[in-house]
């Protein structure tokens, strides 16, 4: 698969401070997450890709060209910044029309694209209201809509769920997934929230201190483990004792328990222990690893746990 974006040996220094240190990665079709703490170099990498900053060394190409040398390529790119960027006294329809024209679309096309994009973003009914009266969730959706209004080949989202409540965050992640799966637009999704990246992205690049520390398919990070998770309605303690009598390794996880076992015999032991303890089974299944287990936080830093995939 051809890379939409390719970064090779990219280094960026600001007056002696290294923001990116010899970073290389590629982004192809799909949703790719860049995960990292504040200051890890995510925004710097995005700005270099967009041609807004010059790298100290290395190269960043998007859609086959270096954006700083050919700014017309930006008419095929979308960018949603993390911070506020919406005027309060303008309607969403007028704003998106202007943004589409700024991306090179003639006025008549820009108007119809603006209306269509606001419909897809769920803001069609509100399009003639000044944006100053919008909720945070609506503003985030306008920010995403302005990045999509000119039908870009790839869109770069910088912390799209920042400042949203859980419901708004879920809506935004749904919209991001829809942008790729229904609209066919590839996405580079920058975030410091592992759960967002895990639930939304196909691939992941982890930055720490300006360096890539992990990269790969999200599913390879969260593949099934040899651990079985079990919840019972009652008699949990008796059930644990019955399992231990059968030499099964058990870990109490509060509501449920984890049972270690690589072969089918563990299920026979579980069945027998359930009968013996008279414990009604509520839930049982193989456990998937979560990204958070791979990058446990230690203070303000990411710490690799055993099992993490080194790039």
């Amino acid at each position: 698969m051809e890379a939409l974006l390719s970064v090779e040996n990219l280094t960026k220094e600001y007056k002696g401070v290294v923001a990116l240190n010899n970073v290389s990665f590629e982004v192809s079709d799909g949703i790719t997450g860049i995960l990292g703490e504040n200051g890890a170099g995510k925004s710097t990498a995005i700005k270099i890709v967009l041609g807004l900053l010059q790298p100290t060394s290395g190269s960043a190409k998007i859609l086959g060209v270096t954006a700083s040398e050919n700014i017309d390529i930006r008419s095929r790119l979308g960018y949603m910044p993390e911070h506020d960027c919406l005027p309060s006294n303008v309607t969403a329809a007028e704003f998106l029309t202007h943004m589409a024209e700024l991306s090179g679309l003639p006025p008549s096309h820009a108007r119809s694209r603006a209306a269509d994009t606001l419909r897809h973003a769920g803001l069609f009914e509100e399009r003639y209201r000044a944006m100053g009266g919008y909720s945070t969730g609506m503003k985030q959706r306008v920010k995403l809509a302005q990045a999509l209004v000119h039908d870009p080949a790839i869109v770069l989202l910088d912390e799209p769920t920042a400042g949203l409540d859980p419901a708004g965050r879920e809506e935004m992640l749904d919209l991001v997934r829809k942008t790729h799966r229904e609209f066919g637009i590839s996405i580079l999704f920058s975030s410091h929230l592992m759960a967002d990246v895990e639930r939304t992205c196909d691939r992941i690049i982890v930055l720490r201190g300006g360096q890539v520390i992990q990269s790969g398919e999200v599913k390879s990070f969260t593949e099934e483990t040899e651990t079985v998770y079990i919840e019972v309605d009652t008699n949990k303690d008796s059930f644990i004792v019955a399992l231990e009598q059968r030499s099964v390794a058990v870990t109490d996880a509060g509501l449920g328990i984890y049972v270690e076992g690589s072969d089918e015999s563990v299920y026979d032991h579980v069945r027998d222990a359930l009968v013996e303890a008279e414990a009604p089974l509520r839930r049982m299944g193989p456990r998937r690893r979560a990204l958070t287990e791979l990058f446990a936080r230690d203070g303000d830093d990411f710490t690799d746990l055993p099992g993490g995939l080194e790039s």
Binding site: K47, D72, S75, D84, E101, L102, S103, L105, P106
Partner: protein, 313 residues
């Protein structure tokens, strides 16, 4: 017959009932006009902001109040000249020294300065305060494209308000003359003169106002600073220049910011207007006064461009 009626009625109901189909996301395969379209869009947006077009009533009040006032000045001067000529005989208005094209900017320049001070911040401050500039600069548009387009938009509005009242004055004086053709033949040279003098005042005040706006995100700060600069520089430099006298006084008088374009107006019309009459700087050679004007116009323009050239989100 009944059956036919029912069928017709059903068909008509079906025709009236529409069905909305969600055809899903449609990719755009129309023209993409790149950087030039982006520049034009920033220019058009700048015009709309300056004139309050496509915005609420509040946004329209100030620009159109100033434009209306300036047109009233032009129309008032024309009406006064026509009335005096009609009552006291042809040429009386000229004989009694009623203000005309060469004097208009002396009267109107203060209104133009205030208009520039109030309108210019609207073009630049909100874009940086709200962060909209971040969205401009990630499109096929550079910081230079942005500021040049905004500057051109504001200059267009400033030229409109500089020239329109003069055109009204010229039209009034021509139509009010006993022989309009003769009047136009004798006075047509006033047209390039007022166009040139108007361009000088418009570019000077507009560029300085945009430069001030380029360094703050608060519109009020920019407006107050600009008005303060012009109102303080006049009495301050006049008083000190009188005190010092000689060449030093003349040079100090050059720093009266509201007089700088008026010296160009005087040079173009070959007269001394009321506002520059007492200024010691008027004694300087024309080339010095014109060079001083260019320094104070091109310098701020270069600073403004430098400020936005490397701007990044």
């Amino acid at each position: 017959m009944t059956s036919s009626k029912n069928t017709s009625s059903t068909a008509s109901v079906q025709a009236r009932e529409g069905t909305v189909f969600d055809i899903g996301y449609q990719h755009y395969d129309g023209p993409r006009e790149g950087r030039n379209r982006a520049r034009l869009s920033v220019f058009k947006d700048g015009l709309k902001i300056s004139l309050g077009l496509g915005r609420g009533v509040r946004a329209k009040i100030l620009p159109w109040l100033f434009i209306g006032s300036l047109m009233l000045v032009g129309a008032g001067l024309a009406m006064a000249a026509i009335t005096i000529d009609r009552i006291a005989g042809e040429g009386t208005a000229h004989t009694v020294g009623l203000p005309t094209h060469s004097d208009y900017y002396g009267i109107a320049s203060i209104i133009m300065f205030i208009f520039a001070a109030i309108s210019a911040p609207e073009l630049l401050c909100p874009d940086r305060r709200d962060g909209v500039i971040n969205l401009y600069l990630v499109r096929p548009l550079t910081g230079s494209d942005y500021i040049v387009s905004r500057w051109l938009a504001f200059m267009s509005v400033m030229l409109l308000i500089a020239w329109l009242p003069q055109i009204i004055l010229m039209a009034g004086l021509t139509l009010g003359a006993s022989d309009p053709a003769d009047y136009l033949k004798d006075n047509w040279l006033d047209i390039p003169k007022f166009l040139g003098a108007g361009a000088a005042i418009a570019t000077y005040s507009g560029t300085i106002a945009l430069l001030v706006s380029g360094f703050t995100t608060r519109r009020a700060y920019a407006s107050v600073f600009m008005v303060g600069l012009f109102t303080v520089s006049a009495p301050f430099t006049f008083g000190l220049a009188q005190e010092l006298g000689g060449t030093a006084g003349k040079w100090l008088s050059m720093f009266n910011l509201s007089n700088i374009p008026m010296h160009v107006n005087d040079a173009i019309f070959g007269t001394t207007s009321g506002v520059t009459m007492d200024a010691p700087a008027s004694a300087f050679d024309t080339w010095i006064l014109v060079s001083w004007f260019f320094l104070w116009t091109l310098g701020p323009a270069a600073l403004l461009w430098f400020r936005y050239r490397k701007l990044t989100p």
